[in-house]
């Protein structure tokens, strides 16, 4: 390995300052390479979430930027899924659950008294942990289900166009175009999850919430869904809850870390920053310990 000539100090054209933190900061502002449609940004202001007397999440204030993927990470019970469900008013569907504070989508507080929660859920779609296509419906009907409910009187041609567009958008069209009348439940796990994503985007939401969308999928199907997420952010704002930290590192632009001070205490947002920064130079010790696996 001996070299007789060594590069001189002055020969080197190393970057004068490769500032990781600066790169990370740029990451916060980094959107997709192309934005096909400017989606809406979310702001949570002093949000407190309760299940009856139990204070589940405390004082969350965060901004979720449009056309970016925001990952919510944290150990079980830290409130990340509860926060996710509060973003499309699903939290309040649990008996005894309530929300304090504001969740603003663009300029509209989605918890204002005049806002229809059904309309909120159309604007803010949800994809769940286990793929849950409607079992008795065909692939076509699964995708069209939301359209049938939300847009009465839609023509058959328009509906078919949207179904195709949504299946293409969910990277599923080529795999199912010849069997649209077959039951959605007959697809593989990864295909079912992409079918659920197609169903969610068929109603043209602004935001897609995903609650551990890959936890029931094998690595190949997981990568297919992650590719899809990357593609979808040019049209939607995406919030994903994941237990898989490598998935958060791979698939998101911004990461928010939630934690509990102690068992029985409410969850809170510890740190939110560009994903690069969270996984290289987090600001808080608590975040560092969690992402490095030093917990318990």
């Amino acid at each position: 390995m001996t070299e007789t000539a060594d590069k001189t100090k002055s020969d080197r054209h190393a970057p004068v300052a490769t500032d990781l933190a600066k790169t990370a900061e740029q990451g916060v502002k980094r959107g997709p390479d192309k934005v096909e449609r400017v989606a809406k940004r979310f702001q949570a202001k002093d949000v407190n979430l309760y299940y009856g007397d139990f204070h589940a999440v405390q004082d969350v204030t965060m901004t979720i930027e449009a056309n970016q993927v925001t990952a919510l990470i944290g150990s079980s019970g830290c409130g990340k899924t509860t926060v996710l469900r509060s973003l499309n008013r699903m939290h309040e569907l649990t008996p005894g659950a309530r929300v304090e504070g504001e969740v603003v989508l663009d300029d509209q507080n989605i918890y204002a008294p005049n806002v229809d929660p059904v309309e909120v859920r159309r604007l803010v779609g949800m994809v769940f942990q286990a793929p849950n296509p409607f079992p008795t419906m065909s692939i076509y009907e699964n995708v069209a289900a939301g359209l049938t409910l939300n847009r009465r009187g839609i023509s058959k041609t328009e509906k078919s166009d949207i179904v195709e567009k949504s299946l293409r958008g969910a990277h599923l069209w080529e795999e199912v175009k010849d069997r649209l009348d077959r039951p959605g439940s007959g697809l593989s796990g990864g295909q079912q999850q992409r079918l659920c994503i197609a169903r969610a985007i068929a109603v043209e939401p602004e935001v897609l919430l995903m609650d551990e969308p890959c936890s029931a999928l094998d690595p190949v199907a997981t990568l297919a869904v992650e590719d899809l997420i990357e593609d979808l952010k040019s049209r939607y704002t995406i919030v994903i809850v994941t237990h898989n930290m490598q998935q958060a590192a791979r698939a998101s632009d911004v990461t928010a870390f939630f934690n509990l001070e102690a068992s029985g205490k409410p969850g809170r947002l510890v740190e939110m920053d560009a994903t690069d920064k969270i996984f290289t130079t987090p600001s808080k010790r608590e975040t560092e310990d969690y992402v490095s696996g030093r917990f318990g």
Partner: protein, 231 residues
């Protein structure tokens, strides 16, 4: 902490000990090299050349351990910065070892009865001592994550650079005798190699700052000398 992660933490510490232990190998090689220079001891010089395999072996060993750790443990945050820094440090260590070999290779060129010029030899021996001290200091700074001690390496390196310049002046004015001029040119190669070892120690210091702060900045930017690069 779960058992698996405890092993990981232990393994990471051991990896750092192994990598930084490479600096002890450099110090040992440097001691022999300078002794060989002082006494024009060609046998000792050959030993330095042969023994460089130990430093190269350490480089390969640490490199393999780092690859395994990246593949199996997916380190992030401080752990990731540490591993990235250790890769750089190992590269510097390997280069320092090579510089000792470069010096040892030119010792036979001076011959047994070289026309020694004391002023120049004294400076080169002083540069050797300074390199030794900087190598040890870079190890201490890394182990203690001590940025101040790391930055002090720049001050130490200035001494080496000045001695190198003085050697150059002496070599230019060494006189008309062909053998003496040839000897002086060879000694300039030695001085140059020592000057590079000093730079490698500063590079290790920069990695200390990276591990601690997450910012990589050259302590001294050779393309823009005199301008501070750290806030």
């Amino acid at each position: 902490m779960p058992e698996v992660r405890l092993h990981y933490a232990d393994h990471l510490e051991e990896l750092e000990r192994n990598a930084l232990g490479g600096l002890d190998l450099v110090v040992a090689s440097l001691d022999r090299t300078m002794e060989a220079v002082e006494h024009q001891d060609m046998e000792l010089a050959e030993l330095v050349i042969a023994d460089d395999d130990r430093i190269d072996g350490r480089y390969l060993e640490v490199h393999q351990e780092i690859l395994t750790m990246l593949a199996t443990q997916a380190p992030v945050a401080t752990d990731l910065r540490l591993i990235s820094a250790l890769l750089h440090v190992m590269h510097s260590i390997e280069r320092m070892g090579d510089q000792c070999v470069n010096i040892s290779k030119v010792i036979p060129l001076t011959g047994h009865d070289a026309p020694v010029h004391d002023e120049m030899v004294d400076r080169i021996l002083l540069m050797g001592k300074q390199c030794r001290s900087m190598t040890s200091q870079s190890k201490k700074a890394f182990e203690a994550r001590d940025i101040e001690l790391a930055r002090d390496l720049v001050r130490q390196d200035d001494l080496i650079d000045n001695l190198n310049k003085e050697c150059f002046k002496i070599a230019v004015q060494v006189g008309e005798d062909k053998d003496t001029r040839e000897w002086a040119m060879t000694m300039m190669l030695v001085a140059r190699a020592l000057e590079r070892i000093g730079d490698n120690a500063v590079d290790i210091g920069e990695q200390v700052a990276f591990v601690v702060t997450g910012l990589f900045r050259e302590f001294e930017d050779a393309s823009h000398p005199g301008q501070p690069t750290l806030p």
